[in-house]
């Protein structure tokens, strides 16, 4: 089958790779109809990140049709149209039972040598990520294997199109998580750093949960205009504005109740992703780490800062004193999609989340390298590229 593979450096190529096979009794094989780029892919492609192996297939946000199920799969049948959570979780460990699916003990690698070095504990897996995330091939391919299919795959209601539902795989649950971590509710003022798909869906989640005002921060005018036009939120350009000062002014001198960081890798810089890289230097704070620092400074006393960015590993010069003196709560998580996806699909069916507008570019798989170039450069107003692996370029 054809798949979009990492071929070293920042190189990508469409290659012929073997089709996936069932490897566990709870697996399903899904024929991929939509698979989206994500800000979390970009750090994997930055030079010096040794996480992926040459030939690994990228992609983790996808939707498709079940074509094969293992003998222990109970909830899905061949022919079902499903959206699959990007995080692989078992559904039965202590963490999963508490809804902390991305903290799953069993969804990542079982190898202590592989699973534990990044952060000391095994965590939920992810498609198209390094082996520490379980070694599951990515979804930018004609077919993908879905472990724990009963836990991670969700039937898509007929009323929801493929183009909309693919966002229920990752970007929408991550946005909802950001609002949920902040406990956003009626009357809140919420600021969101990053106007990518995740940031925009965070802003929408905040509004749907009753926030009174939502302010989105970024430096890409097209993305800011999109957030104003499609979601109806206020925006700030961080290249042209003193963000903490402007936020204080707009919030009666208090600061936002909830600040969510949904900033990807910043433009031009690299974050230290591992201890070695941090020691060796060569990394300087960008995107997420600058945004979190700003959020801590801006947030009102007793407020919450939610961290969503998966990029940075280590951040120094962190304003820890502000966390103490302002009584802040700082929370972070990879998305617990299994907790939110059924509810998000209902909101999508009711047209309350019209996420397909974020798919600014729809391309066949063959155009994968060009798609990632557009996405990385934010060229041509690109917010998300969505590939259709069953369509041939022509």
């Amino acid at each position: 089958m054809r798949a979009l593979c990492w071929v070293g450096g920042d190189g990508l190529a469409v290659r012929e790779v073997p089709e996936p096979r069932l490897r566990n009794t709870q697996d399903a094989i899904v024929r991929v109809s939509r698979s989206a780029t994500c800000g979390a892919d970009l750090p994997l492609l930055s030079p010096g990140d040794a996480g992926l192996g040459v030939g690994d297939v990228l992609g983790h946000e996808f939707l498709g049709e079940v074509v094969e199920v293992g003998p222990e799969v109970r909830r899905h049948r061949v022919g079902d149209r499903v959206v699959v959570c990007s995080v692989v979780s078992c559904g039965r460990c202590w963490y999963c039972r508490r809804g902390l699916y991305s903290c799953c003990d069993n969804g990542g690698s079982t190898e202590p040598m592989v699973a534990e070095p990044p952060w000391g504990e095994p965590a939920g897996g992810c498609y198209g990520h390094p082996r520490s995330a379980g070694g599951f091939a990515g979804s930018h391919a004609e077919y993908v294997r879905v472990p724990y299919a009963d836990v991670g795959a969700f039937p898509v209601p007929d009323a929801v199109s493929d183009d909309r539902a693919v966002f229920a795989s990752d970007a929408a649950p991550t946005g909802w998580l950001g609002a949920d971590l902040g406990g956003v509710g009626p009357g809140d003022v919420v600021a969101v750093w990053g106007a990518g798909a995740v940031g925009q869906l965070t802003a929408l989640a905040a509004l749907l949960r009753g926030a009174e005002r939502v302010i989105v921060v970024d430096r890409h005018d097209e993305r800011l205009r999109m957030a104003e036009r499609d979601i109806g939120v206020e925006t700030l350009h961080y290249g042209r504005t003193d963000i903490p000062a402007e936020l204080r002014e707009r919030t009666g001198g208090r600061g936002p109740d909830v600040c969510v960081e949904a900033a990807g890798a910043g433009d031009g810089g690299t974050e230290a992703r591992g201890f070695g890289q941090r020691l060796l230097g060569g990394a300087r704070p960008t995107g997420s780490s600058l945004a979190v620092r700003e959020a801590v400074h801006a947030c009102r006393k007793g407020g919450t800062v939610a961290v969503l960015g998966a990029g940075p590993g280590f951040v120094d010069a962190f304003p820890l004193g502000a966390v103490l003196h302002k009584g802040l709560t700082v929370r972070g998580a990879r998305q617990h999609g299994q907790r939110y996806i059924p509810m998000l699909l209902k909101l999508m069916a009711r047209d309350e989340i019209r996420a397909e507008r974020l798919a600014t570019h729809r391309l066949p798989l063959e155009e994968g390298p060009r798609g990632y170039a557009l996405f990385r450069e934010r060229a041509d107003g690109c917010v998300r590229v969505v590939f259709s692996p069953q369509e041939r370029a022509g």
């Binding site: 593979c5 790779v17 073997p18 996936p20 096979r21 490897r23 566990n24 009794t25 709870q26 192996g53 040459v54 030939g55 690994d56 222990e72 078992c90 039965r92 460990c93 202590w94 039972r97 003990d105 069993n106 969804g107 690698s109 079982t110 190898e111 202590p112 040598m113 592989v114 095994p122 897996g125 082996r131 379980g134 070694g135 599951f136 091939a137 294997r145 472990p147 724990y148």
Partner: protein, 153 residues
Amino acid sequence: MGRNTRTGIMIVVAASGVAAGRALVGAGRRHSRRSVTATGAGRWQVVTVNRPPAEVLPGGLWPEPLRRLDGAVEVQVGTAPGARGTELAARLRADGPPLPGLAAHLLGDDPALLVRRALRQVKQLAETGEVLRADVGPPDRPGDGGGFLPEVP
């Protein structure tokens, strides 16, 4: 229970099955005749399994793949606090036989990894019924892990 007991009653279990009968409080695990390093041989490796002890050690027997390390490790099992299931601990015996041949060769001087891997697999089997396998990697990359223990079918 005293202030120092972390984990309630720990039972030392023999591989032959029946609990060896000597009930220890959790703190008992702290004492070791070996020198203790971060992952070293003297330290107990522990996992918490979200199932009751009777399911983790059915009939009091060591579950696979721990059973394959019979003689080489000692095992303790106890109830985790807060209805978290079972705390299952294992460490290499100071007086145990050498590790099974290939494993010893692969592990070099960090045999604690073998114990950790076995515990993780016991946990996965008890919680989910199987050991999760990685996809077969591209030709340039090996597939499933280092294979410290033969895969549980």
